[in-house]
């Protein structure tokens, strides 16, 4: 654990250099996957497919970026997928009834954030271990969403709203701009602000963090609320992209989001990792799933492959860090 503590508390420069190397390896892996795929499939390097990959990766990134902060505190949020489903269904209903996309967006963000805050309260006030608290929340949300939707589908949203998910701006998909925006915000928040550094410190050693005067519970509440709000944001993008909301849209989202965080080099034990790493993780996972699609592998294989990559990424991460020590 000493290396973790050192990494989190050491001066910014040495802290970055360690992570820069880790991220560099992962970018290299993403590049190699691209090379392999371009040999295997002719359509891989088409503009349409590249833009598609970026769009997919940004959807995965929105959920995974908030989750990264949670994992940095040595916690986990298993409820993100179910949160996306509930927020999307609520936002969709509001847009349908009020006709206002703005109100819908606000509803999605607020619903996601409220769920995140509840998670935070369970972890800090009720002191339930995060993975089991958010796992309980997953089923509560699933149940509520299925009950609320009662098998219905909400579809058909205003064209302007759909632009958020499926439109283009200067030749790039709209979500990619949001991706760049949140990548910048997330990186600056985690690396350059005191609150961000406190989050690393909490993950590295919660007792030391408390003793050094960091308001641990308030930071944890913030982290879970951010994770929930980012799930709310993802729900808006999903809604705009799919042009419909159903109770089951979140079921296949949690596993890839967690996988993206861990592939990106964020340690499950807290205190180590970057938001940029998570972006690269989302990119790698999207490339693999996209490649499987292009090679016409049955979609049934996706959870299997995601599961294997998840376990492999954690194993590899632990190996490299052991050697570093």
């Amino acid at each position: 654990m000493t290396d973790v503590t050192k990494t989190a508390i050491a001066p910014l420069r040495s802290f970055l250099s360690e992570d820069v190397i880790q991220v560099f390896y992962r970018l290299l892996a993403a590049f190699l996957i691209c090379v392999v795929l371009s040999f295997l499939s002719e359509s891989f390097f088409s503009l349409g497919n590249i833009l598609n990959v970026l769009r997919q990766a940004s959807l995965m990134f929105f959920i995974a970026s908030g989750l990264t902060l949670v994992v940095l505190t040595a916690g986990l949020d298993l409820s993100v997928g179910a949160n996306v489903a509930l927020s999307a269904c609520l936002a969709g209903t509001v847009i349908h009834h009020s006709g206002s996309a703005t109100l819908g967006v606000l509803t999605g963000l607020a619903a996601g954030g409220a769920v995140g805050l509840l998670n935070g309260i369970m972890v800090t006030v009720l002191r339930i271990p995060s993975f089991i608290a958010t796992y309980g929340m997953l089923w509560v949300l699933n149940g509520l969403t299925y009950w609320y939707m009662a098998g219905d589908t909400i579809h058909g949203f205003p064209a302007a709203f759909r632009q958020i998910g499926s439109g283009y701006l200067f030749g790039l998909p709209t979500p990619v701009y949001l991706l760049l925006l949140f990548l910048a915000i997330g990186t600056i928040f985690a690396q350059r602000t005191i609150w961000g550094q406190e989050i690393y410190a909490i993950g590295a050693n919660p007792v030391a963090a408390r003793l050094s005067g960091i308001p641990v519970n308030r930071r944890l509440l913030l982290v879970y609320a951010v994770s929930g709000t980012m799930a709310g944001l993802a729900s808006i993008i999903f809604l705009a992209r799919l042009n419909s909301a159903e109770a089951d849209i979140g079921e296949s989202l949690t596993l890839p989001a967690i996988a993206a965080v861990l592939i990106g080099g964020t340690s499950l034990f807290g205190g180590v990792g970057t938001v940029f790493g998570t972006f690269v993780g989302a990119l790698i996972l999207t490339l693999v799933l996209n490649g499987m699609n292009l090679l016409q592998v049955n979609a049934s294989w996706q959870p299997l492959v995601t599961g294997i990559i998840l376990v492999f990424a954690v194993w590899l991460d632990m190996k490299t860090r052991q050697r570093g020590r």
């Binding site: 986990l76 009720l126 608290a133 796992y135 309980g136 699933n142 009662a150 499950l268 049934s300 954690v314």
Partner: protein, 316 residues
């Protein structure tokens, strides 16, 4: 890193009220408001329907006692249930189907134990990975379709009786007694308590925690295989999403039963009562014509409540 929680002595008397009161309240409430809840046929029904959950909750208790978790159990159950259907359909033999299911379940259990104890991946992430793998395999072997036309020998498992007691209840009782004997009357059981409570002591006693952990998860996988037989017999088919989420009911039963997630204290009878409490909750809501989605949400609330109370008790 968790703060060192003070190790409380396992005091069953302190726990009996918790889960027993919860079960009592549920029975009284549903007896009053759910039509037909207290009829003999319905109580019989609750017990028979709880048997699959019992098969999962018993090994889940051991796993949680080692400060672990197995999120893959429901997905593995789905896969083994499909295997029972496919293999018994192909060979015409229920026993070969059961053997295939138990073997595959065992393989998943060993894989979980290996990832957790030798590779060192935290349990909830390792088993989340194998959940994805089992779920993927279920979709692949079934091609996303139900497997129908199950042999009569498989169906009989769920409907037959032994001395007027339904076979599933006999299986659940035998499993309970076996787990009880294993946990409280063998050295292996003592080691399980030590795995959660005091791993250092285990090392000084010359026992490898690694091997023990693999065995604990392997037992969980094998039991998911046995539960797969009951599931297929009950549904009269194999379905690629049949058991998804059932691990949560198992975790709920264990949590309600008073087994702690952080201190290595476990109570097997509490788990059995917890299984019945979850069964009663689902059955009662069902009788009140509330959809299964509300049942799922209620079980979620039940878990959070149980863990909150457990946390309160540990701070007393």
């Amino acid at each position: 890193m968790r703060e060192g929680a003070a190790a409380l002595p396992a005091n069953p008397l302190q726990r009996i009220p918790g889960v027993a009161i919860m079960l009592g309240v549920l029975v009284v409430v549903f007896g009053a408001i759910a039509p037909g809840f207290l009829s003999t046929a319905n109580i019989y029904n609750v017990l028979v329907q709880s048997t699959i959950l019992m098969m999962l909750a018993l090994p889940m208790t051991l796993i949680i006692m080692t400060e672990g978790l197995d999120l893959s159990m429901g997905a593995v159950l789905t896969l083994t249930s499909l295997l029972v259907a496919i293999v018994s359909l192909a060979t015409g033999s229920m026993l070969i189907g059961l053997a295939a299911a138990v073997l595959v379940g065992l393989a998943f259990g060993i894989a979980n134990g290996w990832l957790i104890s030798i590779i060192g991946i935290p349990p909830f992430v390792a088993t989340l990975g194998t959940l994805g793998i089992a779920q993927g395999l279920s979709l692949i072997v079934s091609d996303g379709q139900s497997v129908v036309g199950i042999p009569q020998s498989v169906r009989d498992i769920y409907s037959a009786t032994l001395f007027t007691v339904p076979v599933p209840i006999v299986m659940a009782l035998v499993s309970y007694l076996a787990f009880h004997a294993l946990l409280y009357h063998t050295r292996f059981g003592t080691y399980i308590f030590a795995l959660g409570g005091n791993r250092e002591a285990l090392k000084y006693a010359g026992r490898s925690p690694t091997k023990l952990l693999i065995v604990v998860y392997a037992i969980g996988g094998a039991m998911a295989g046995v539960a797969g037989l009951l599931m297929t017999a009950r549904m009269n088919s194999g379905h690629p999403t049949a058991g998804l989420g059932l691990e949560f009911d198992a975790i709920a039963a264990v949590a309600v039963g008073g087994t702690s997630f952080e201190r290595g204290n476990g109570w097997l009878l509490g788990t059995a009562l917890g299984v019945i409490a979850v069964g009663v909750l689902r059955n009662g809501l069902n009788l009140m014509a509330l959809p299964s989605s509300i049942q799922v949400a209620s079980v979620g609330v039940l878990v959070i409540l149980a863990l909150f109370l457990d946390g309160l008790r540990s701070r007393l």
